[in-house]
Symmetry: C2
Subunit: 143 residues, 2 copies
DNA sequence: TCGCAATTTGCAACCACTGTAGATTGGCAA
DNA sequence: TTGCCAATCTACAGTGGTTGCAAATTGCGA
């Protein structure tokens, strides 16, 4: 995702308006590596701008995703997670608490389906490592 | 997933009962490579057993997944997809129509996160290739 | 500064899925 | 073979995540 300033220009260039609500969401996402859900972002936004609606958060996230500024991830954690890092990377997912961490995986770009793409026109592969984060593994150990 | 006959024994062995509804679902999944959703399976089941409930389909799918006979896949297509193939393989997903195809990917097992597992205890990686299947790519071409 | 299209908000609706309860039934034990 | 009872089935309500809609508001180019 580009900086809040650059996004402001990008939105205007598309005929989209730049509202205080959107600027707040830009700032909340800028440099955010927590892979927040819409609800989590809404909670953070509400703390700074009481009265902002969840609907507006969804709307802006969808706009950003459509512009390619944001990756929407479906990792089986219940809600979609939003990732402002749109570079080449992959994900570690804790199946207990839903924590998500970015990771680089060398060799991932070179992966191809054995036997060819089966007629599909394919994007780059996405690698998901599921498991238990240290906190959850520790908690399970103790119990 | 094992054969319907073996599943019958496995269910009884766990103190679970084998009902006509469950046997039907076993048969619908046996050798099924379509990665159906619960709704799709329900529609197929209802055709052969009018009156069967969606709740029962979910219940049985959950039981099978818990027993490790079925993989539940969250691929961002709206609903969970169920895969009776529990061997080592990966997936091609059409982002237009939601079609899913099994693929083998040589080298996938060897993938690891650069910089180590970050404290996570990890399962085997899962590789997802998103793209457009031939039908959807053709349809987009024509329009 | 104006005007209008884009946006925001609140709320209803929708989809996928799960909880619950009462009626039913598989399957073991006698 | 029968009887019992826990497991199951169905119907329906409820939940969580997300989108549709309409009325009121507002950004921003002319």
């Amino acid at each position: 995702m580009r900086s809040p300033t650059e996004l402001t220009a990008a939105f205007r260039g598309r005929g989209l308006k730049v509202t205080p609500q959107r600027q707040l969401i830009f700032r909340l996402l800028d440099g955010n590596t927590a892979h927040p859900s819409a609800e989590i972002l809404f909670a953070a936004a509400e703390a700074q701008m009481p009265g902002i609606s969840l609907r507006t958060v969804y709307q802006t996230l969808n706009d950003l995703a459509e512009m390619g500024e944001l990756n929407q991830l479906d990792l089986g954690t219940g809600a979609s997670r939003f990732d402002p890092n749109v570079g080449d990377h992959h994900h570690l997912v804790c199946v207990d608490c839903g924590a998500v961490r970015d990771v680089h995986v060398s060799g991932a770009r070179q992966l191809t389906p054995d036997g060819g793409p089966q007629g599909f026109v394919l994007d780059a592969p996405h690698v998901i490592f599921r498991g238990h984060c240290s906190e959850c593994a520790d908690a399970a150990q103790r119990s």
